[in-house]
């Protein structure tokens, strides 16, 4: 439905987008995920026609839209701060897109009223039609912005940080609601976010961006389970990193020695073992493949317990346990324990092997 072909954007010599390509399928909801400055908003604005690409093509349904102005693209856009028309009521905001149509396709006053009321109903704010934007809460403004964007029956819906300005609880509710709405309308959509949880929960596919390039494109499960680079791994949640040496297909570090058959051909290289906090198990020190660490601060976070530890080289480590397991262990501050990765991912140290980025990570499964 949306084809992004080798799109490049340069701002005053700074490459904001470096020849990126993506195909968004009909009815798909894609998240552009990345830190600020990764080019995700620029890409969204180029799809919308609010920004002109310095190279490459945008196609909608196979038709070239690169030269089409934003007003002719028939794209619904929800702005980060909603950009509601402050001097118009909610009703007039939503009706705007219908009222500015050329006379030949403009619906009558009555048709407009019916259409706007349908939209307000759809986003559950039918009772707020007479209010002004300043009289609404953040979540309500978000719904108005969405209804206004949907009024023009867009081929594509684009959302810039749709939940960025909302507080945590409203965010959660709205994002589930948006997902259901998307499914019921069957729209093709792209949204920008810097929040990995949001991207993983809402999107069909996630594009992880960094410095104007796509680091990885895949379903939320693929991205989370098989990050292709340390950047993606780090970006998708808390992570522990243990430095090691990679020698003839084994990852050898302080207290551990795991098989890493993917790296069979490497004689000796620096590597980093990434482990998620919930993939670490705490045992007695010095048992088999375990890293010896000192227990530090412990925090109870609702259903889980988080234990901070200090590793053999002074590195900060973090383990997440169930409350039951935590109680069973009865850890005391300063105690020596062993930590065992249940599941880890090995990357060669990029600082030393920048050119070998293709030799990307491989899963390590600890055998205990």
């Amino acid at each position: 439905m949306i084809d992004i072909l080798n799109v490049t954007k340069i701002f005053n010599g700074y490459v904001a987008l470096n020849s990126v390509s993506l195909n968004v399928k009909e009815g798909e909801l894609v998240a552009l995920l990345g830190p600020s400055g990764s080019g995700k908003t620029t890409l969204l604005r180029i799809i919308a026609g609010l920004e002109r690409a310095d190279g490459g093509q945008i196609r909608f349904g196979g038709e070239d839209a690169t030269g089409l102005s934003a007003r002719d693209r028939q794209v619904g856009f929800v702005f980060q701060h909603y950009a509601l028309f402050r001097h118009m009521t909610v009703f007039d905001n939503v009706a705007f897109g219908l009222r500015v149509r050329p006379r030949s396709t403009r619906p009558s006053v009555e048709e407009t009223r019916i259409r706007v009321m349908e939209l307000l109903d759809l986003v559950h704010i039918a009772h707020l039609g007479g209010r002004y934007p300043t009289q609404l809460s953040g979540g309500q403004r978000q719904r108005v912005a969405l209804a206004r964007a949907l009024a023009i029956e867009p081929r594509v819906l684009l959302l810039d940080e749709p939940f960025g300005a909302l507080d945590a609880q409203v965010r959660k509710d709205l994002r589930r609601w948006l997902r259901r709405l998307h499914d019921s309308l069957g729209l093709t959509g792209v949204f920008v976010t810097h929040d990995q949880e949001e991207a993983l929960e809402v999107a069909d596919r996630v594009v992880v961006m960094s410095q104007g390039t796509f680091e990885q494109v895949g379903t939320p499960a693929e991205i989370y389970d098989n990050p292709v680079s340390p950047f993606v791994y780090r970006f998708l949640g808390n992570v522990n990193s243990l430095s090691c040496r990679v020698r003839y297909g084994r990852a050898v570090g302080e207290g551990f020695d795991f098989p890493a058959p993917e790296f069979e051909g490497i004689r000796d290289a620096a590597g980093i073992l990434f482990v998620r906090p919930h993939d670490l198990e705490i045992t007695d020190p010095g048992q088999g493949n375990s890293v010896t660490a000192t227990v530090g601060h412990q925090t109870i976070l609702g259903p889980i317990a988080r234990v901070e530890l200090r590793g053999p080289r002074g590195e900060d480590l973090e383990v997440e346990l169930t409350r039951a397991r935590h109680a069973e262990l009865g850890l005391e501050g300063g105690a020596k324990v062993g930590i065992v990765p249940r599941r880890a991912r090995l990357f060669l140290d990029e600082a030393l092997h920048g050119a070998e980025r293709d030799m990307n990570g491989a899963d390590i499964r600890a055998v205990s």
Binding site: L50, D72, A83, F85, F96, A151
Partner: protein, 290 residues
């Protein structure tokens, strides 16, 4: 060695740090009020007092006198031409400066401010240099048979020049603060450039625009220096109200001079009231911008 006394001795000493003692507040407020009374309020009273010194009849006859009426008409005409032109120009300039980044933007801002930094008399002289008998543009105007200097066109031009910045200066900060998000949203919804201007941009700045027009109008009607240089002071033809006041005054016709002056003072009071009302409106709306 004495220890620092951090805590106040008695409750009386506890006063918010940023509040001055009562006597200081009274003194400062009193001084400000006395100053205003002496330099603003008393002269205003004096204007109306002098205007009515010879009775209501003399006051009315000074105003309905043909030369005075001609001056009123000319002043209204100059304002009626200068204000709409500067309104259109101000909106265009503010729109360009606030919503776009282009080379020469800084220069344009400086040029808009220029009339404020130049003495009005100099502005008038510039027109004399351009359109006078030996002026740069004299050959052009003479060949076209146009009389600019010492005639109505000169007065309108001078008024245009000095009132140039008011609307633009009022709108630029307002438009910059509002940004271009709403315009972009309107564009995404399919609105054309004119639609965006009339449905989004202008309604959003309407109070600021009115305020700018009001100030522009007050200056257009009250301008003395620039107009004085280009007018030629021909009674009944090229005299505006401020110039007429001066002439009457120089002829020791105080009651008539103050009578016409009282009209200008009245305009100032109306402007002030309208300005306060607008500021109040803008305050309400300003607070509501997210």
């Amino acid at each position: 060695m004495t220890s620092l006394n951090i805590f106040p001795q008695s409750p009386a000493d506890i006063r918010p740090v940023l509040t001055d003692p009562p006597w200081a507040r009274t003194l400062l407020t009193g001084m400000a009020l006395a100053f205003l009374g002496l330099f603003l309020f008393l002269p205003l009273v004096a204007v109306f007092g002098e205007a009515l010194a010879k009775g209501l009849g003399a006051y009315v006859s000074a105003i309905v006198e043909p030369d005075a009426l001609a001056a009123v008409r000319l002043t209204l005409l100059a304002a009626a031409i200068a204000v709409p032109l500067n309104l259109v120009f101000g909106v265009a300039a503010a729109w360009a400066i606030a919503k776009f980044r282009f080379p020469g933007r800084g220069l344009l801002i400086s040029l808009i401010e220029l009339p404020f930094s130049v003495s009005p008399v100099i502005s008038g002289l510039i027109y004399v240099l351009m359109f006078g008998a030996q002026g740069w543009l004299a050959p052009v105007t003479q060949s076209l048979g146009l009389q600019i200097l010492f005639a109505v066109p000169g007065i309108v031009l001078a008024t245009l020049f000095v009132t140039f910045p008011f609307v633009a200066r009022e709108l630029i900060p307002l438009m910059e603060e509002q940004g271009t998000d709403e315009e972009q949203a309107a564009m995404m919804l399919g609105a054309s450039g004119w639609r965006i201007l009339f449905w989004i941009t202008l309604p959003n700045v309407r109070w600021g625009l009115l305020y700018g027009v009001l100030l522009c109008n007050a200056r257009a009607m009250g301008e003395f220096g620039a107009v004085s240089v280009v007018s030629g002071h021909i009674r009944g033809l090229t005299n505006t109200m401020p110039l007429h006041v001066e002439i009457l005054y120089n002829e020791y016709n105080f009651a008539a001079a103050f009578a016409v002056a009282s009209l200008l003072a009245g305009l100032a009071l109306v402007t002030l009231a309208a300005k306060s009302a607008l500021e109040w409106r803008m305050g309400c709306h300003g607070a509501s911008t997210h």
